[in-house]
Symmetry: C3
Subunit: 267 residues, 3 copies
Amino acid sequence: MIFTTQKITESYWKVAINHPPVNVFDPEFSVQLRTLMDELEANENLKVVVFESSNPDFYVAHAELVNIFDFPKGEGKTGLSKSWPDIAKRLEQAPFVSIASIRGRARGLGSEFIQAFDMRFASKEKAVFAQPEIGIGSFPGGGGLERLHLLTGKARALEIILSGDDYDAQTAADYGWVNRAFPDNELDAFVENLARRIDSFDLKIIKKIKATMNERVIIPQNEHIMETQIAFFASLTEPEARTRIKKLLDQGLQTYGDVELNLGKYL
Amino acid sequence: MIFTTQKITESYWKVAINHPPVNVFDPEFSVQLRTLMDELEANENLKVVVFESSNPDFYVAHAELVNIFDFPKGEGKTGLSKSWPDIAKRLEQAPFVSIASIRGRARGLGSEFIQAFDMRFASKEKAVFAQPEIGIGSFPGGGGLERLHLLTGKARALEIILSGDDYDAQTAADYGWVNRAFPDNELDAFVENLARRIDSFDLKIIKKIKATMNERVIIPQNEHIMETQIAFFASLTEPEARTRIKKLLDQGLQTYGDVELNLGKYL
Amino acid sequence: MIFTTQKITESYWKVAINHPPVNVFDPEFSVQLRTLMDELEANENLKVVVFESSNPDFYVAHAELVNIFDFPKGEGKTGLSKSWPDIAKRLEQAPFVSIASIRGRARGLGSEFIQAFDMRFASKEKAVFAQPEIGIGSFPGGGGLERLHLLTGKARALEIILSGDDYDAQTAADYGWVNRAFPDNELDAFVENLARRIDSFDLKIIKKIKATMNERVIIPQNEHIMETQIAFFASLTEPEARTRIKKLLDQGLQTYGDVELNLGKYL
């Protein structure tokens, strides 16, 4: 079980992510996340869900690169690819509020994972963010080219994506990548208080606020997301990408060790 | 007289807001604000107007909740509701520059009031911001769902609106809710210098800059503003809202005291 | 030679700007910049270019005001005016990445110059930013009314343009005007590392990321840029502008001295 759901109340759930050794987003992660999403949507009383990692060093490391062509195929409920874009869209459009509470690395698809949540809060000491795809001869394929600039603006999104480098939580907060960064020992109390507050409010008002906000703001277009995802998968078959990926895997990518801890330096 | 206008020069006016005990935005506030707006628009030489509060603890507390259905009815000059949306639109489209210099609480309609100004500056020690409507079983009805995300982005607007909690001035500045936060003893000098500078420039150039900027940026749509306002008033007739409002009024809402000073904790 | 190009590698170039005494953007600057732009575009292997100033006090001071009507006339490759808007558009659409590394003043057209780059980094101690056009009876005519609000949001863009005042690098970073501000002794190492990283990545991926991002974000409209530029030139023929410009020139504008160093105070 990658996702363990703790029902704090009927309407406030907490999900722990645990997929050793580094919480890669692999085909199995995708399958179980879809099952979890079905469960969240089936609870019509759900007001708020918080996603944490059980691994203090990794929130969601990135997409698994050896079996990346084994992700679930086909369309999900939204018409978007089942692999992940469909779930991202469902989180965005969900009647409940989704919060990412982040310790550890959230790179690549891990960064795109949190971009699909309504809000993001991070530990100043422990959270690390990156879109490292350029280092494997590719580019963000899971929404980063569609969502990151909505959070950070174009100039900072280009910097993040073209550098492929690691960003600490304070810089991520300064850029809008996350809502706010907190000292590690304050993060849990803040998120708990926020979730409890939301849980204390009226369900239909929460739904109304999310639905109205989604009508007011710019939402990534489905065609853009699919166009980028298709190009992303195609890029991975190129010799350049295969060479870069092989080298990183040989150095220890996807195992617990220095490459995963300090990926920015290895690209 | 809720609004006292001080004519620093022919083209630079300062308005003090004083409506004891806590500067609620009530029907009388709306009526007098419209008269003031007429006066500002009638002065064709006006370049800049600064709005301050005479009450160090409250800028504009929020909408008055007992007589909330007594707000002026009908359409104003812009086709928007006279109660407030028409004035907000007129501030946005005005040829003169409007500046909010903020000490004290600006919550709910008080926060939406300042969002309609061209610029906002706040005291780090004394300014407090919130969209607390969710705590009375409702949502921002005076433009908050249309304007706040243009200042803060979607994620932070959702956090603010769904938490209903109090935000200090530095966080408000980090989020873009206000332009900048200053130590309390520097705020007046900054705003005075800024207003004097603008007052020293050419009137037709000021008009040209505001008009051009309004053509370049995303402006809230009138239909969205009215749709939300109508839904807001409807929500207040629901039992959930009536119960929540009654409880807060019984605790001391709209009087000078701890509920108004620390509303975030009471919701 | 205003621009000296150093070819660090075949695909990473560095350009030094040197046009004594204060790096004004004059007709000669425009002509040579177009030649440089042709050269950058002709290098199909170029991945990244960094623009620095050789003058520690001035990055690009502003548009030259005595010979401002002698800028190159006619349309460039993009259909926009050759004088500058065409080059700005070509930088935006270029397959390579452009980075401004900023020490010294970047005011007016100097500020608009850096807004056309993909990314901007500034020295906390030495960089100064302004859109001072209002002080000469005009408004930003080189893209500032079209691009600045995309970086800073409307409220802060209005503040900057209507105040005409000087902004330090930290405030510019807080506002999004630049990506980040660094202590002066860290700026070069950061930019060098970033440029080297980009230079180490795959050329076609860099092109793909820039092209896709440009399709995802809001890009200033050509008609808006030309409309503003035409109005800008017209404004300079007005008596108000001519009087203000003459006074500043008499005080020492465009020479190395206190007016140029502290222009914000003189407007």
